[in-house]
């Protein structure tokens, strides 16, 4: 077995994280947990893409741009998801609210 290069290593990490996010996503009931899992999955896949991008001497700008796009989209769907969860659970449903200052 050849020694792992950095990009290969990060690729493996990316895969592990993405699959973990996916598994958790489909097996958890809590909505916020699902949203976080989705984010983790997204991070994993972005990591995989960056691993592909950084194989040469220079980082591939095209894929970098793609990753940035991915981050933006992540923010968009997470934000929308958060708003929807807030609406679903009602603004005053928070039990923990009282514990916080």
């Amino acid at each position: 077995m050849m020694p792992l290069a950095a990009d290969q290593w990060y690729g493996l990490i990316g895969i592990a994280v993405a699959v973990a996010g996916l598994v958790r996503l489909v097996t958890v009931q809590d909505l916020v947990a699902r949203l976080v899992s989705l984010n983790v999955m997204g991070v994993g896949s972005l990591l995989l893409i960056m691993a592909v991008a950084s194989r040469g001497a220079e980082v591939d700008p095209l894929l970098s741009a793609l990753v940035i796009t991915g981050l933006v989209i992540t923010v968009a769907f997470t934000g929308l998801g958060a708003v929807l969860i807030r609406r679903l659970e009602g603004p005053d449903g928070g039990a923990e609210e009282d514990e916080l200052p």
Binding site: P3, L4, A6, D7, Q8, Y10, G11, L12, I13, I15, A16, V17, V19, A20, G21, V23, R24, Q29, D30, V32, A33, V36, S37, V40, V43, G44, L47, L48, M50, A53, S54, R55, E58, V59, P61, L62, S64, A65, L66, I68, T69, L71, V72, T74, V75, A76, F77, T78, G79, L80, A82, V83, R86, R87, P91, D92, G93, G94, E96, E97
Partner: protein, 315 residues
């Protein structure tokens, strides 16, 4: 591969676990936050400053703000996952084990196979050889990533800004008039700090915007900074700052409309979509960047306003 890589990679896995496994919402959000910070380091390590910057601004900054707001405002986690098991019957251990173990097994299998495929595939792929700058030609913007975003991947960029805008519109549609009202001021220190930092943040945002054409930065980063500023202003209840909520829909529309107009410029002059006369490159791209910054800032701010619990609002 160095020790740093090894450590960073393991840190990513561990923080991912911290984000996925806890039952309390706040805990998992905190786990995810730490993961985002680690990720910024990973991006740097992989040699992409742009991505690291974006991650810092968007992932660590905005995303965490939204998630924290959400986590602290919502109800306690519930559901069939953690049913109260008063009986504690020992005979039930098998189904419970299956319930916990099956996902882990699935994870292991899928991950293993994907990893194997990945390792094989990556060896087969040629490394990146052709450098992009040569292929880019005169787009009017010097920095690669920005130029890529705006010229080569313009479709992508357009759709992305459209996605952000749609998210903003969706928030508007879902929350409607509830966006109105201001937050109660948490204290004078906070509001003082906001007032002091606001001009500086505006300048930073603008700098990021203009720097985009020559260095790392650009619309998304600038938009994120501006959105953060507005968020801060809202959270601190600083009344001396202008109330920008009404301007949000317009800002939203401006971004995409300007981009569409710029896109249509190509066919109007007999070129392809999003393809401009080389000589027009700089002014057009700058205009688009400004409009996109406004649109993105508006969309992000709307996302924040939507998550912010209504109870915090002073009528």
């Amino acid at each position: 591969m160095t020790v740093v890589d090894l450590a960073l990679g393991l840190a990513v896995v561990v923080t991912a676990g911290a984000a996925l496994l806890p039952r309390r919402r706040m805990t998992m959000v905190m786990g995810f936050l730490v993961m985002a910070v680690i990720m910024a380091l990973v991006w740097l390590r992989l040699g992409s400053v742009d991505v690291a910057l974006a991650e810092t601004a968007l992932g660590t900054g905005l995303l965490s703000a939204i998630l924290v707001l959400l986590a602290r405002g919502g109800p306690a986690p519930q559901g069939p996952e953690e049913p109260p098991r008063d009986d504690g019957a020992a005979g039930r251990w098998l189904p419970r084990l299956a319930r916990a173990g099956a996902p882990v097994l699935a994870w292991a299998v899928v991950t293993g196979v994907f990893m194997k495929v990945w390792l094989e595939v990556e060896r087969l792929l040629p490394a990146w050889e052709e450098t992009l700058p040569a292929a880019m030609g005169p787009t009017g913007v010097e920095h690669e990533v920005t130029a890529v975003l705006l010229t080569f991947r313009s479709y992508d960029t357009l759709l992305e800004s459209a996605v952000l805008m749609l998210a903003g519109v969706a928030v508007l549609a879902v929350t409607g008039t509830e966006l109105g009202g201001r937050t109660a001021s948490p204290g004078t220190t906070m509001s003082w700090w906001t007032r002091v930092s606001a001009p500086a943040l505006v300048v930073v945002g603008l700098w990021l915007l203009f720097a985009g054409s020559s260095g790392s930065g650009g619309a998304f980063q600038a938009g994120a900074v501006l959105a953060g500023l507005m968020m801060l202003a809202d959270a601190s209840g600083a009344r001396s700052l202008p109330d920008l909520r009404r301007a949000m829909p317009w800002g939203l529309a401006a971004g995409v409309l300007v981009f569409l107009a710029a896109a249509a410029l190509g066919p109007m002059t007999g070129r392809g979509w999003l393809d401009w006369e080389p000589s027009w490159g700089f002014p057009v791209i700058l205009t688009v960047e400004i409009a996109l910054t406004v649109g993105i800032a508006a969309a992000l701010h709307l996302l924040y306003l939507g998550v912010r619990a209504r109870r915090e609002v002073v009528a």
